[in-house]
């Protein structure tokens, strides 16, 4: 069925003989979205704030303290963090009452725990985007997809050096053509919905809170 | 493609007036006011007596064959290279923007395109070609303006009405809520979908009434007839007038004499 469907559809499309004239895309308008580093940081923070995201700018030596303080504030006991995350050791040694663990088994083995008993996840980011206040997250074997989705609090570590003006700038500078990772995400604030009479509610199906640590000196 | 910038001609000695069938039958004083305003600006107005209708009613009903037949007879009426001014945004829009499409691929395509390029909305023409200066001779009054969708979106001349009214010192211009929303006229739409059209017109009349204006003006006779008709049926004290009639009456130097 599907192979004859394929042929039918493609040959029907190719039946069209005339090709309407159209302008070639002019991408210049995308390049007007550029900010200097300090303006970009300011915009990133403001844009995250506008979607209920919380951004804390810290110097690298103060990062562990700041993250711990955020975890305590949230009352988190069980926190996911990748074993390779540089921050991990500093956190483990300093927080006795928090259980830090890696996402180290297939989801099927512990799905219910992941969804119901995990309070927070700390992940790295590929980049940050000033224009829209977005995080670019590329899930990996150590930081799988559900880390940024299942726990109610997502803490993201973003080096200032990885801040770009816009997604378009990132895509063009890093040349995102051709094969892509399994999953790539732009994340802007915690999950939300306005499906009930346009009342904005945070914490729809994903995290209820997102804190970004924007780190100088990494 | 984005809207091209409008390039206005220099002020001419003569213009043609295309009166439109609604003005002809229902609001001739608006057409005459347009003539008076143009003549006061030193422009001679030629009114070809053989004009009938731009073809829009048929065109928007999907009857392009009939629209083309009627429009074709209008193509012959403006032989000289003078501007053609129209006291209605929708008829101006029909001639300026739809004629080229209507005649595309026919033997009249070139003639239609040439005519289309010199069609102007009369109010816009007064502002941007004549650069008219009005002196207000009337009593203080509060006015709301309903700019037709054709003037606003098809012709892109929504600024001209307010620009003219702001020249009148004793006129306070107030803006109704949802100023850019359609009044519900839409030609045959008002008959085919009378209930939707009626709901839109009723809302527009309510918005105009809420401004507390003494009267409302419109740049298009269709909108005017629609809104005035609703106001009258609902027995609301909301008189309506064509923008051009109002401008002429307000700016005559010795109107009391």
């Amino acid at each position: 069925m599907t192979s004859s469907a394929r042929q039918t559809i493609l040959s029907r499309l190719r039946e069209r003989t005339s090709q309407p004239a159209s302008q070639p895309p002019d991408f210049r308008v995308m390049n007007t979205r550029r900010w200097s580093l300090e303006d970009g940081i300011e915009r990133f923070i403001a844009q995250q704030a506008s979607v209920h995201g919380d951004v804390q700018r810290v110097h690298e030596p103060d990062l562990a303290t700041a993250v711990l303080s955020r975890l305590h504030q949230a009352g988190a006991h069980r926190v996911l963090i990748a074993p390779s995350q540089g921050l991990r050791d500093a956190l483990v040694t300093r927080a006795q009452n928090i259980d830090f663990q890696g996402y180290d088994q297939k989801v099927e083995a512990w799905q219910s725990e992941l969804f119901h008993q995990t309070d927070a996840a700390i992940t790295s980011c590929h980049a940050g985007l000033a224009d829209t206040g977005s995080l670019v997250v590329i899930p990996s074997p150590e930081e799988p997809r559900l880390m940024t989705l299942a726990p109610p609090l997502h803490i993201a570590i973003l080096p200032v050096s990885r801040l770009f003006s816009s997604w378009y700038q990132l895509i063009t500078e890093e040349d995102w053509t051709g094969p892509m990772p399994t999953n790539t995400l732009l994340i802007s604030g915690p999950s939300k919905t306005a499906d009930i009479e346009q009342t904005l509610v945070y914490g729809a199906h994903g995290p209820k809170a997102l804190t970004v640590f924007l780190v100088d000196g990494i | 493609m984005s809207q091209p910038v409008i390039l206005y001609p220099n002020k001419p000695e003569k213009v043609y007036l295309f009166g439109t069938c609604l003005v002809d039958l229902f609001y001739p004083e608006a057409g005459l006011a347009g003539v008076d305003l143009l003549e006061r600006e030193g422009i001679e107005v030629i009114y070809p007596q053989d004009q009938t209708c731009c073809g829009q009613p048929a065109y928007t009903s999907g009857r392009s064959d009939e629209a083309r037949a009627v429009a074709k007879t209008q193509l012959d009426l403006f032989p000289e290279d003078w501007p053609v001014v129209v006291p209605s945004g929708s008829c101006a829009g029909m001639m300026r923007h739809q004629y080229p499409k209507l005649f595309e691929g026919t033997e009249d395509a070139d003639r239609a395109l040439k005519l289309a390029r010199r069609v102007w909305d009369l109010a816009d023409f007064l502002v941007n070609v004549c650069q008219i200066q009005l002196t207000d001779t009337g009593e203080p009054t509060t006015i709301a303006l309903h700019t037709s969708c054709s003037s606003r979106r098809e012709m892109g001349v929504a600024d001209s009405g307010p620009a003219l009214l702001r020249q009148l010192n004793n006129v306070t211009l107030v803006e109704p809520a949802k100023v850019a929303e359609c009044c519900g006229f839409g030609g045959s739409f008002a008959v085919r979908h009378a209930d939707i059209s009626g709901a839109m017109a009723t809302d527009k009349v309510a918005a105009l009434t809420q401004t507390g204006c003494d009267r409302f003006l419109s740049t298009d006779c269709g909108c005017l007839m629609n809104l005035a008709g609703v106001a009258k049926k609902q027995k609301m004290a909301l008189p309506g007038e064509h923008l051009l009639s109002f401008l002429w009456h307000r700016s005559q130097p010795n109107r009391e004499a």
Binding site: D131, K192, D195, T199 | S2, L25, L32, C53, A190, I196
Partner: protein, 481 residues
């Protein structure tokens, strides 16, 4: 020949009575008026710091370029997806697409299916199809969840439950799920979150739509706020993405501007919470994500639309809903009155092409042609011109052009043809026109007080005492004695 597709839940034929009852429902009109007014304002604010016209030019150019290369891009997309391990299926119409999905579910011995928001699956009535075959199907987008509970269809393509207010939803959720009847969007959302979390974990298959399919990387882009789309495409062991064939673009570079247009036009957001780019199933070293990913490419009338250069502009649509948010007709009657999957201006243009003009007899005419839809469309689909084209097709009104729309000529009536023949006769003969109009003005006392639908809401217009023709004639006589 283009085939007319059947849609069992299509009730566009009953447009007029549906409009009457919608207009009489003051609650409904209030809900839509408030929502659409807010959305229009948010959109304006969201584009305030952009060169919007340049961005719309770009969006239009990208969509037109993509459509020009459509068959090639589809083949490239298929190749890249397959190279990535995504299985690609093709379906000529909605039924075939439903069968493809059913077969995948059978192979997986699935029992429960969870869905993210997808308009194309509404178009093919996938839920009904699967339920008839014994599958449990659950919508996970909050708006869709509410609509499904109410046994309704979405009334807006972006905000499916926009026709309901909080009180109505509280009562519905109380009745259907037993939660407290509290008029509190926060409480209700949290209850739905808890109810659905269990379902995500139990589902055997997740079905989603696609916002943009990227040909050069084989990537499926999904745009959403709630996280339900990510859960749908991550938690179940099998993900089936269903998309219309027109959604393909050359590369991610093209997605960036379209995304900027989409979210701002739709809800006034500079971006949604999530942009989810899926390029392959779970890899051996990965710990979550579906082990199988399928892409179903659905034609369902699109390749017929594609044949006509003018009408093919319909396929540029990125499904933002801005045309309905700004439509004075949609705002007053709401989405359900249309009786089709897609309401509002884009629905009025698309549905007659999919279902046939005879199935949608009022769609082309139910517009004042005010131009708001065309003015806001992020990819510059000339919606008013397309409505006019469909009007011509419906009455077979342009004998100089070829016609392609199913149901062509179905609205042509002898009575109307006669009226237009008389109109044409009078307006082509200036002498006859002047005579008739002068006569009409002189006999204006006799003009009718009732004029059908017009005078239901308005007083009858009054002819002037004299015509402009006569007045101008007298004037020139005065000036040239």
């Amino acid at each position: 020949m283009p085939q007319t597709l059947q849609q069992s839940h299509n009730s566009a034929i009953n447009f007029q009575p549906q409009v009457k009852s919608a207009l009489a429902n003051t609650q409904l009109r209030g809900n839509f008026d408030r929502a659409m007014t807010g959305l229009m304002h948010k959109r304006t604010m969201a584009f305030a710091d952009w060169d919007l016209e340049a961005l719309r030019d770009l969006g239009q150019a990208i969509r037109q370029q993509s459509l020009r290369q459509l068959p090639d891009l589809l083949e490239q997309l298929e190749r890249q997806c397959q190279a990535n391990g995504i299985q690609v299926h093709w379906a000529r119409d909605g039924d075939e697409a439903c069968q493809v999905v059913t077969e995948i579910c059978q192979q997986r011995q699935a029992k429960t299916v969870i869905k993210g928001k997808s308009m194309v699956t509404e178009e093919m009535e996938l839920n009904a199809h699967l339920e008839q075959r014994g599958y449990t199907v659950l919508e996970s987008d909050l708006g869709e969840y509410i609509v499904q509970m109410a046994k309704e269809t979405p009334s807006h393509i972006i905000m499916p439950a926009i026709h309901k207010n909080t009180a109505e939803i509280a009562e519905l959720m109380h009745t259907m799920t037993g939660v407290e009847q509290r008029e509190d969007a926060h409480y209700l959302t949290d209850q739905a979150r808890q109810q659905l979390r269990e379902k995500f974990m139990q589902a055997d298959v997740g079905i989603s739509g696609v916002n943009f399919a990227v040909a050069d990387s084989g990537t499926l882009c999904l745009v959403e706020n709630e996280g339900n789309g990510r859960l749908t495409t991550t938690t179940p062991p099998c993900h089936i993405a269903v998309t219309g064939i027109e959604k393909v673009v050359p590369s991610l570079t093209d997605v960036a501007p379209l995304l900027s247009l989409l979210t701002r036009s739709a809800t006034g957001q500079s971006i949604t919470t999530y942009v989810n780019m899926i390029s392959r199933p779970r890899q051996p070293d990965e710990k979550d994500g579906p082990e199988a990913v399928h892409l179903v490419l659905v034609d369902n009338g699109r390749s017929d639309i594609y044949q006509d250069e003018e009408l093919a502009e319909t396929l540029q649509c990125i499904r933002c809903g801005a045309c309905m948010n700004h439509c004075p007709v949609y705002t007053r009657i709401g989405g359900h009155a249309y009786g089709t999957t897609y309401p509002g201006p884009i629905g009025q243009v698309l549905m007659p092409q999919l279902l046939g003009l005879e199935q949608t007899p009022d769609f082309a005419s139910a517009s004042s042609l005010c131009g708001s839809c065309g003015e806001v469309c992020p990819v510059r689909i000339p919606l008013p011109s397309l409505l006019l084209r469909l009007r011509r097709e419906a009455v077979d009104g342009d004998r100089t052009r070829a016609s392609t729309v199913p149901g062509h000529g179905s609205k042509r009536s002898n009575l109307e043809s006669l009226i237009w023949a008389v109109w044409r006769l009078v307006h082509r003969r200036p002498g006859l026109y002047r005579l008739t109009t002068r006569l009409a003005s002189q006999l204006r006392a006799l003009s009718p007080k009732r004029l059908g639908g017009w005078t239901r809401y308005r007083s009858a217009p009054k002819l002037a005492k004299t015509t402009l023709h006569s007045a101008m004639n007298n004037r020139s006589k005065r000036q040239q004695p």
